[in-house]
């Protein structure tokens, strides 16, 4: 990303020429995302592996009981750790976080944590004393562009998949008992809304002057760029939306300027994809729940079950 040296000039020209004639090198349409392939852990709650094209990532959600912040006694804690190592791409440094890595982590955090996608008050056990602390570890395994969209999708999927152990409060609020997941059915997290990040990359087919002073907006916009596309892009914007038609985040960290009308157009166009991805999360989780239900023979435990 930061080091463009690996792309030769000819490669770049070839790529841009293809774009100008309306072709993406992996034959997708300009506004088409790669199909996510989801693997949900059957044994644990809250472990998800996601294949977003050849971008791969693993998400692990864990919960522990902690003391809340003093200024917010009724709210649980929620953290997202982004782990970007050289495993995913040699250019990422293991020791030092590059600007790109900070941006990725920050945008995902803003999309999910800042937008209150997780109901923090429902994580409260005893006000001011004990709350659940939910930690999401996001590990990127292979990098082929677009960590942001994939990361955000992966985290949301894992939050839906995760269940925290049931607890009961005893001794008049003095102590709590954490029930083992085999003892009592664990409780899912209360997710208020599902933010979906979509990254558009821009390419300027003309020269800089026409981009800045020209009348016509002939910049090319690609949704969900892969690595090669990301290395060649001249700017990008992350639009985060949910299916309630709420704009959660806009983030354009420099790059070539885009017209305000184009921004509006892109945001409205994105809604369709947002709906589809939100639906996908719901669908996959539902299917997974059903399977688990079958597997554990949970039907037998139901009150009206015929034993």
């Amino acid at each position: 990303m930061s080091k463009n040296i690996e792309v030769s000039t000819n490669e770049k020209t070839y790529f841009l020429e293809a774009l100008k004639s309306g072709i993406r090198l992996d034959s997708r349409a300009f506004d088409e995302i790669r199909q996510p392939e989801i693997t949900l852990s059957k044994k644990e709650y809250g472990y998800v592996e996601l294949d977003w094209g050849t971008t791969k990532l693993a998400v692990r959600v864990s919960a522990e009981i902690r003391k809340p912040y003093e200024d917010r006694p009724f709210e649980g804690l929620f953290m997202i750790n982004c782990e970007i190592s050289s495993m995913s791409w040699p250019h990422f440094d293991n020791q030092k976080n590059s600007n790109d890595e900070v941006l990725i982590a920050r945008i995902i955090e803003k999309a999910i944590r800042r937008s209150n996608s997780l109901d923090l008050e429902s994580l409260c056990i005893i006000a001011g004393e004990k709350v659940w602390c939910i930690t999401v570890d996001l590990n990127f395994l292979n990098y082929d562009g677009n960590f942001i969209d994939a990361g955000c999708f992966g985290v949301m999927l894992a939050l839906h998949h995760f269940k925290k152990p049931d607890i009961s409060i005893v001794n008049g609020g003095e102590d709590i008992i954490v029930h083992d997941v085999n003892e009592r059915q664990p409780v899912p997290l209360s997710v208020l809304h599902v933010p979906v990040c979509l990254t558009y990359s821009f390419y300027n087919p003309g020269n800089k002057e026409s981009n800045l002073k020209g009348e016509d907006d002939d910049e090319i916009y690609l949704l969900d760029a892969n690595l090669l596309e990301e290395q060649n892009r001249e700017g990008s914007i992350v639009i985060t939306l949910n299916k309630n038609r709420e704009l959660i985040q806009l983030s354009k960290n420099g790059g070539i300027p885009i017209n305000a009308n184009v921004l509006l157009e892109l945001s409205f166009k994105s809604m369709k994809i947002v709906d589809r991805l939100t639906e996908k999360i719901k669908e996959v989780i539902k299917k997974h729940e059903a399977e688990r239900y079958e597997e554990l023979n949970l039907r037998l435990l139901e009150v009206g079950a015929d034993r």
Partner: protein, 242 residues
Amino acid sequence: MELYSPEGLRLDGRRWNEIRNFECRINTHPNSSDGSSYIEQGNTKVICMVQGPMEPTLRSQANANKATIEVNLAVANFSTLERKKRSKSEKRMVEMKTTLERTFEQSVMCNLYPRTVIQIDLHVLSQDGGLLAGLTNAITLALIDAGVAMYDYVAAITAGLHDQSPLLDLNGLEELDMSTLTIGVIGKSEKLSLLMLEDKIPLDRLESVLAIAIAGSHKIRDLMDNEVRRHGNIRSSKLVNN
């Protein structure tokens, strides 16, 4: 606390489409920098100093095709009501710094200055909302003062949405309670070079917020342009005397 009264007045008595007092000066530190500026956007106060284009101190900064832009952001401990020490490696700082670097890489004609570095030092003296916008405006002015070739001004401003009504140029209190959109506009166009929205707004309201923000940034551009011209005329009148 009423952010926007039924009579159409905001906390500090402004109308919805009114910007805060905007003051700017260029060439404030002529001896210690190649270009410098000072801006006040309400109570947000920023000093900016530009060094360069100059020989890079690190070999890795030398790019054979274009200038490297390096932004250093220092936020004074006393810049907020509560005195607080801020580290430069804070994620929010790194994000802002990266955003500014990437914005100005595009609007400065970097290709004219190969193998050099343009170092931009920002000092935030006081924060009262619209920090990123203030920083952007300060950099624009300092770069112009330094005589660095740019395609156009980058003028930035914030706007928010209160209920149904968009509000222009939020102050610190408003920013806490409202979702804030920061935009950076190229000159008098409607082209956005910088865009930052961190809280929810309904998608269908985006257009009205954007519209007032763009109009506001054009106003800021004019105010900055006035200062550049005022200073430029004084300066050129002196040189003619020789």
